[in-house]
């Protein structure tokens, strides 16, 4: 057991030191891509950083009581969970130390959206509550598909270890799983056409309506880290196994960038769906797809 390696992975690469600038970069890429698709020039390169620093310098509302404490805690929990999820990604080849498994990664990926739901309800704002209810309904529907996609990949290999899963040869089953993951990512990142929880033309900012200043900065950061974790998960599953450390890092960044571009283009090209259409989409279309993937994975394993 190597504590320094674990700490280095959490704090340096792919942890905080890499993940925070990457989060700002991906948020900029998303805004810029949407702007270019709409025929605009878009925000300057450092814009997410400017926004973050500015929010840190703003005043925060006085909050009292348990609800106030909870409202302060949710964004911090969300940021640490998202940063932990990024730190677990098996980008570099195994070098001992702490190796989390897939179940821990999924739990950490899920925690920010749980925090968003809780934050909306503890803010006692009507818009926050509607946003949280939408986020809850959305996460119930896409998570089934998300988990089944991951489970199908894991079941075919009979392991939950991230290192083993990251270095799988490409198989049709894995491609199916990755496509199911990609279908879930817009809902996880609140992008069009599934941007229901923070639908700003309908319910202002949803669960974030009551947040201001540094707390809002933490929410922005956790959203960016979710970008890195979500796209990074797909990137590590798709990336071929390379022995050279720096080359695999480069490939990881390039693949994540490609996935961010894909998601942004889809977001710019689509309009928001209604909540019932979204839920129906996930339950009807992709659930069938994900169940097929699990069944074929189990079938493959028993035949082997």
């Amino acid at each position: 057991m190597n504590l320094t390696t674990a700490l280095a992975r959490l704090l340096l690469f792919p942890g905080l030191l890499f993940a925070v600038p990457a989060a700002w970069f991906f948020m900029w890429v998303e805004r810029k891509a949407v702007a270019r698709m709409q025929g605009r020039i878009g925000p300057p390169f450092m814009q997410p950083f400017y926004d973050f620093v500015k929010l840190l310098g703003k005043q925060t509302p006085q909050r009292t009581g348990v609800a106030g404490l909870l409202m302060k805690a949710w964004p911090l929990i969300a940021v640490s969970a998202a940063a932990g999820a990024v730190g677990l990604l098996p980008v570099l080849p195994a070098s001992g130390g702490f190796e989390g498994d897939l179940i821990l990664l999924l739990a950490l990926l899920e925690l920010p959206s749980m925090c968003i739901i809780a934050a909306g309800f503890s803010s006692r704002s009507i818009f926050g509550e509607i946003g949280s209810a939408r986020e809850a309904v959305l996460s119930v529907s896409y998570n089934v598909v998300f988990l089944l996609a991951i489970v199908s990949i894991a079941a075919s290999q009979h392991t939950f270890r991230l290192e083993a899963l990251a270095h799988l040869p490409i198989s049709p089953l894995q491609i199916m799983g990755v496509i199911a993951l990609l279908v879930c990512l817009p809902a996880k990142l609140h992008l069009n056409p599934f941007s229901l929880p923070n639908a700003e033309q309908e319910i202002y900012s949803g669960p974030m309506t009551e947040y201001a200043g540094p707390e809002l900065a933490m929410w922005e950061l956790s959203h960016g880290l979710e970008w890195v974790a979500g796209t990074g998960l797909v990137a590590t599953l798709v990336a071929p196994h390379l022995t050279l450390g720096w080359l695999s890092v480069l490939l990881f960044v390039a693949l994540s960038f490609a996935i961010v571009m894909l998601l942004s283009v889809v977001a710019a090209a689509t309009a928001r769906l209604q909540i019932d259409t979204t839920v129906r989409f996930y339950w009807r279309c992709t659930l069938i797809f994900a169940v097929l993937a699990v069944v074929s994975a189990l079938f493959m394993r028993f035949r082997a």
Binding site: P43, Y50, D51, K54, Y204, E210
Partner: protein, 177 residues
């Protein structure tokens, strides 16, 4: 610490988030504000984001001649915007109550109720004048920091009417004086 303050000042100038409020406007200025976000004018280049919640905003953009019903709402929303903050009055109405002057349904102009930093006169003002006003407000915001706005400082007046009407220009001068 000094470096941090300079960085904060720089970032405040480059990231103005707007909250738009209508205080009984005819919708003309509201349309022009939205037009300044469209591809033709693209306010996002300045880091502008139109926010849904006043708590997220730095700059409060108010249109309309301030009706009696709107006064309390304006004060509430102004209190909900956390500092440092600035106020931009868009159009001739919040500056002078424009053609509705002496109406018994009005309680304007706007600077009787909250401190206004930038006036953008016009009926309606052009989107580029609104953008200039927002940019000036962002600069004022950055310079001001967390200090409360000093009421004595005369507000900036940006741009001119799209139609060359003499009335609102002279009235804006009255407000300044």
């Amino acid at each position: 610490m000094k470096l941090w303050n300079r960085l904060m000042c720089y970032c405040r100038r480059r990231s103005p988030w707007l909250f738009h409020m209508n205080s009984g406007s005819c919708n003309g200025c509201d349309i022009e504000l939205v037009a300044s976000l469209t591809p033709r004018y693209d306010a996002e280049q300045l880091g502008v984001r139109l926010e849904g919640s006043p708590r997220h905003a730095d700059i409060l953009c108010i249109t309309g001649p301030v009706t009696h019903n709107a006064v309390e709402a304006i004060k509430t929303v102004y209190g909900q915007v956390y500092g440092p903050k600035a106020v931009v009055a868009i159009g001739s109405c919040p500056a002078t109550t424009n053609v509705f002057i002496d109406s018994r349904t009005l309680d304007g102009p706007l600077n009787r109720h909250i401190p206004v930093d930038v006036f953008v006169p016009g009926c309606p003002p052009r989107p580029d004048a609104i953008l200039l006003g927002v940019a000036k407000a962002a600069a004022i915001l950055a310079a001001r920091g967390s200090k409360p706005p000093a009421i004595e400082t005369p507000p900036e007046i940006v741009g001119a009417c799209s139609t060359d009407c003499a009335c609102c220009e002279s009235k804006s001068k009255e407000v300044q004086a």
